[in-house]
């Protein structure tokens, strides 16, 4: 039994569920936000229990694979208790889990992830995290262009630092803020699915291509091949981060260097796969069934 957890309207979940259905694989897509769910979980130390969904019952010991993309329920609610119990099961089951919660939590700190990227040989942008406007100005003078973005996993729009904006610079004192040299080049998104890689180039005139369409700018996505050493680094990085499924954001500079920006533990791969035709959902389905 393969268990998919999250809203059925979520494109990646829907794509993987469809891929499993095409294989006639036993799979259930559970939306714990709307279904009537109950969980009984025992660790003795063998992991067993049951998941009740709208009157039906799933034996947790029979779950071979888990794909997690749940929302976050309101704290203190009954749904939050169900969420927490399923999260606990996800941490301890011997099934393949895409991905285990503790491993996904590494995405909560971009500089922490950058250290992992450096450890496997990727370049990372020169970075300063500071509460000092003076240090920010010094850093900006060392680089042609400096951007700032969230340090945490909270999504933020990448923006260019304006040294003339004294008011914004004064805000630095509130909280350590991440500044980075802007690295020129072509964005490459790599989806790691177990031992497989799917790479695509993203070309856009936007500072942050995720918001290109919103800002009326162009974005073009097409499949690409990675040099063998970069492919190997991606696999090593995903293994180091304990993420069998990952979306790695790279940039290839004009002089051929490869920078790594982020390792997304719950990648919205359909945005890229819809444009390239890459069979990422099928690969995820096969990975879930491999166990």
């Amino acid at each position: 039994m393969i268990l998919l957890w999250g809203p059925p309207t979520d494109p990646p979940l829907a794509a993987v569920f469809a891929a499993l259905s095409r294989r006639s694989a036993p799979a259930a897509l559970i939306d714990a936000e709307t279904a009537a769910c109950s969980v009984l979980l025992t660790v003795d130390p063998v992991v067993c229990g049951s998941l009740g969904v709208d009157g039906a019952e799933i034996d947790l010991a029979a779950v071979d694979g888990l794909y997690l993309r749940p929302g976050v329920p309101a704290a203190g609610s009954e749904r939050a208790a169900v969420h927490e119990a399923l999260w606990a099961f996800s941490e301890v089951t011997s099934a393949i889990v895409l991905n285990r919660p503790a491993a996904m939590a590494g995405n909560g700190s971009k500089p922490y992830q950058a250290a992992q990227a450096r450890a496997v040989g990727f370049a990372t942008p020169d970075t300063l995290i500071t509460t000092s406007a003076e240090a920010a100005r010094d850093f900006a003078r060392q680089h042609r262009e400096v951007i700032y973005k969230s340090t945490s996993g909270v999504r933020s729009v990448v923006a260019t630092l304006d040294l003339t904006d004294d008011e914004r610079l004064a805000d630095l004192e509130t909280c350590p803020t991440q500044l980075q040299e802007r690295v020129p080049g072509v964005d490459v998104r790599v989806h790691v699915v177990g031992p497989l890689l799917f790479a695509c180039e993203v070309r856009s005139s936007a500072v942050d291509y995720r918001y290109a369409v919103r800002d009326g700018l162009d974005v073009e996505i097409r499949s690409t091949e990675l040099p063998p050493e970069i492919a190997a680094r991606c696999l090593t990085l995903a293994a180091l981060a304990e993420l069998p499924l990952a979306g790695i954001d790279l940039r290839r500079t004009p002089d051929g260097a490869w920078y790594c920006f982020e390792i997304n533990p719950s990648p919205g791969f359909t945005y890229y796969a819809d444009a390239t035709g890459q069979p990422v959902a099928d690969a995820i389905a096969e990975l879930l069934l491999a166990s």
Binding site: V92, T124, T130
Partner: protein, 244 residues
């Protein structure tokens, strides 16, 4: 060990941490609280070595001599000085910063952070039970239920659990040699230099694993001495005293 203060990262509300400077007058020990992260002066350049931290309001060069971590993460209630509407975001940003900073410091950090807790492995009971069994400990079964009509009563914790604190290669508390060896292995596998373990001695087979956490009892002088010794701080303080 480098020169510099011993930094204790703690919540402003951590009463136990606040007693430490008075209890250890021979040590340059300073509290770093989330409010310090809203002061000008912090400079951290990942992968570039030394930087500047702001501790107890004062800028210091990093790395310090050692860091003791008492804070699981920065919470909204740690940030009364931040506008209410921004607290959740700022708390996430500060936690993310501290995870990277503590992971990168080239000095003793007890404990190094995990991805879910700045003080090390703060795991769900189920994960601890699996690991405890894997190192050969008997384990009190863990059960939870949620939702529907199937809610079962939570088992009552034993009234008086035995507490053992693992600090590096030392085991403080009533554990025999075999038990101590298993607890040290548990801490190693969990990536914790410091681990507090609760055991239930009531079972017919002897001690059974109940729970573990990265929170040592700092009120216990033996535990505190072991912590500082493990961080290399006691030896340094003794050197400083003898040379002075």
């Amino acid at each position: 060990m480098t020169d510099g203060p011993v930094v204790v990262l703690a919540s402003e509300a951590d009463a136990e941490a606040r007693t430490l400077p008075a209890r250890l007058p021979g040590l340059d020990l300073r509290l770093l609280t989330p409010a310090d992260l809203s002061r000008p002066g912090w400079e951290f350049r990942p992968g570039r070595g030394a930087g500047i931290a702001v501790v107890d309001g004062e800028a210091i060069s990093t790395p310090p001599a050692a860091v003791l971590v008492r804070l699981p993460w920065v919470a909204e209630h740690d940030l009364p000085h931040i506008d209410a509407g921004d607290r959740s975001y700022v708390a996430s940003e500060m936690t993310a910063f501290l995870l990277a900073w503590l992971s990168a410091l080239p000095c003793p950090v007890l404990n190094r952070p995990s991805t879910t807790c700045l003080a090390g492995p703060l795991w769900r009971p189920e994960r601890w039970a699996i690991l405890a069994a894997a190192v050969g400990l008997s384990v009190v079964p863990v059960q939870r239920s949620a939702g529907g009509d199937s809610t079962s009563p939570e088992p009552l914790p034993p009234a008086d659990p035995v507490v053992v604190t693992v600090v590096g290669n030392r085991c403080l508390g009533p554990a025999d040699q075999t038990g101590a060896s298993r607890l040290q292995r548990l801490a190693r596998l969990a990536g914790a230099e410091v681990l507090t373990v609760s055991l239930d001695e009531a079972g017919p087979g002897g001690a059974r694993f109940l729970a573990a956490s990265p929170w040592p009892n700092l009120a216990d002088d033996t535990v505190l001495d072991a912590l500082l010794d493990s961080a290399g701080v006691l030896a340094s303080a003794a050197r400083a005293a003898s040379s002075g």
